[in-house]
């Protein structure tokens, strides 16, 4: 289903591998970075929406206390508040939905370039763009990195390969933590409890996924989460700086 994106991305990865000293990790890293750059407007919109929701939490908590016994009224007041500050509570979902096929395509591309099964390799064999310079004979990519086979799942013979799924857990958790409103998690509401669960469930899910798939995918997940965490910090810093500047401009000057 996502092969329509996976094949071009896999060929791009071959090209990068060819020009980056035949390093599979570098090719995955640069490809992940490129995809993040392309989807930057979408991720920024998603992260801004999450950040604004975080800022709105004190107000939302006040409403929750005030209308604790009247759920219908609470929902109405919450919607009113969102409207006043210009937030669409579902605004973070749409960019995420648009990005999902791209990420699945990228996962497919990594699996085609460093396949763990012969059937994956055979499937890709008729989708290599032979006109690209230097790609003939590259597949399957040499996938040894720090003594690990990036094309194989973590295994006891390479015990240190389990570090990658753990890193996947840590970085995904950090990403979830930043993108989830912290105060919401503390509340006793159903949404708060769900948020709290998601903060642990998502990283666990990703970790188990990477335990049974090629470790090359772990490299992608770690880099991707790290980039998003970095993006979030940069965006938040930018917003704080902007607010400080706005306050500075509004404050009356002593001479006036």
């Amino acid at each position: 289903m996502f092969d329509i994106l996976a094949y071009p991305l896999a060929n791009l990865m071959l090209l990068l591998y060819n020009y980056l000293g035949h390093s599979t990790v570098l090719a995955i890293a640069v490809l992940t970075l490129l995809i993040n750059l392309i989807t930057l407007p979408l991720t920024l919109s998603q992260q801004r929406s999450a950040h604004r929701m975080q800022e709105l939490q004190p107000e939302l908590e006040k409403l929750q206390k005030k209308y604790a016994k009247d759920k219908e009224r609470l929902a109405q007041e919450q919607m009113k508040l969102y409207k006043e500050v210009g937030i669409n509570p579902m605004g973070g979902c749409l960019p995420l939905l648009i990005q999902m096929p791209i990420w699945f395509g990228l996962i497919g591309a990594i699996r085609y370039c460093i396949p763990s099964t012969p059937l994956e390799l055979f499937q890709f064999s008729n989708h290599i763009y032979k006109w690209l310079p230097g790609v003939i004979g590259l597949v399957p990519l040499r996938s040894t990195f720090l003594g690990m086979d990036l094309g194989a799942p973590p295994n006891p013979a390479q015990w240190w390969s389990y570090a990658l799924p753990i890193l996947v857990f840590v970085t995904t958790w950090a990403q979830q933590k930043l993108l989830t409103p912290p105060t919401a998690a503390k509340t006793q509401s159903q949404a708060g409890a769900m948020n709290q669960q998601m903060q642990i469930m998502m990283p666990l899910l990703f970790m188990f996924f990477t335990l049974s798939y090629a470790t090359g995918l772990s490299v992608y997940f770690v880099l991707s989460s790290a980039i998003r965490v970095g993006q979030f910090y940069l965006m938040r810093e930018g917003q704080h700086r902007q607010k400080a500047e706005d306050k500075e401009q509004v404050r009356p000057k002593p001479s006036e």
């Binding site: 099964t117 055979f122 004979g137």
Partner: protein, 347 residues
């Protein structure tokens, strides 16, 4: 896991048919023995790869699914008694999966593994005699000729190893991975690689005699008959090349318009060539002019090479209602299909 495999022997057809290893009667597909007898109870995994057979034994590989929270699949080589199907020994030291089968010769069973190693086991006991580490995965079946093992690796090298201790006699480097078994004739090895080339290599010195450029990778093994090398690339182009010079024999390759994983097989008189496609079709070509004499389509994909015995060709397919079919070489008329309807899982 890869694809199932077939080997023809005097007393029948040996099939590693995913669920079991079976010796089937060639006339009606009746099982003469099965291992394990009850696949539901025995925890032996999924059997695949082409069985290696000698006078006493049948050797296959399986992958046993992981148990427990952080369990790993176990990759096992099984040696079975050729007459009874009883287990003789098993070997489960390899860390990776076996994608292709091994070869028996000189009292050893030699097989490549995804953990980059070539393993040589004592054919009698299954004891490890030697290992040879290549630079990448070994997804090819070796060829054993007297005291030499020829085996290709995904590290782009074809190795000639001493059968006695695994020492390197020579290695030949191509521009892509090797996943095929070389064919040998008059001191020359013929093998295709993932760099879209078919190579003729001096079997003694390991030097290149000629190379033939194709449209895509060669994954299946070529075969040689008289002065002609037959090979199929993964795009489904069938080539006939002069064994001495590397010049094309047919004016144009025959395109089958389906991806092809396995190499071709020939009838004993060399008149007819059989190729299985991913589209589930078995093609019979006239070797004189590459004309498709007949083709037979069924469910699933034909990913392993068919086998020919006398007037019958046997093909295996995954997935599909029938995993093995026997057809007449002359007209492609089906003789039998396996498993019989009674053994098929209800839909």
């Amino acid at each position: 896991m890869s694809w199932m495999g077939l080997t023809i022997v005097e007393e029948g057809l040996v099939a590693a048919d995913l669920q079991q290893v079976r010796l089937l009667n060639v006339s009606d597909a009746a099982p003469l023995w099965s291992f394990p007898t009850d696949p539901q109870k025995a925890r032996v995994g999924t059997f695949y790869v082409t069985p290696a057979v000698d006078e006493q034994r049948v050797v296959v590989a399986s992958q046993v699914p992981p148990t427990g929270f952080l369990g790993q699949p176990k990759n096992v080589v099984w040696a079975l008694d050729r007459k009874t199907g009883n287990e003789l020994w098993q070997f489960d030291d390899a860390a990776g999966q076996y994608v292709e089968g091994g070869a028996l010769g000189g009292g050893l069973f030699v097989i490549g593994n995804s953990d980059h190693n070539v393993y040589a086991l004592d054919a009698e006991t299954g004891a490890l005699r030697w290992t040879f580490k290549t630079g990448y995965r070994v997804w090819a079946t070796p060829l054993i000729v007297s005291d030499t093992v020829y085996i290709g690796s995904m590290d782009h090298h074809l190795y000639a190893l001493r059968l006695s201790d695994g020492g390197v006699r020579w290695d030949f480097q191509a521009g892509g991975a090797f996943a095929a078994t070389p064919a040998l004739r008059n001191g020359t090895l013929y093998i295709g690689a993932f760099d879209d080339k078919l190579y003729a290599i001096d079997a003694q010195a390991g030097t290149e005699r000629w190379r033939f450029a194709s449209a895509n990778w060669f994954w299946g093994s070529p075969l040689v008959y008289a002065d002609t090398v037959y090979a199929v690339d993964v795009s489904g182009n069938v080539y006939a090349v002069n064994a001495e010079t590397g010049a094309p024999v047919w004016p144009q390759p025959r395109p089958l318009e389906t991806p092809v994983r396995a190499g071709p097989v020939l009838t004993e008189d060399g008149s007819r060539l059989f190729v299985g496609g991913q589209n589930g079709t078995l093609y019979a070509l006239d070797t004189k002019d590459a004309f498709v004499v007949w083709s037979s389509e069924s469910e699933g994909q034909v990913l392993s090479p068919p086998v020919v015995s006398g007037s019958v060709v046997y093909e295996s397919r995954i997935p599909g209602t029938y995993r093995i079919r026997a057809l007449y070489v002359d007209n492609g008329r089906p003789i039998w299909s396996y498993p019989p309807v009674a053994e098929q899982p209800s839909k």
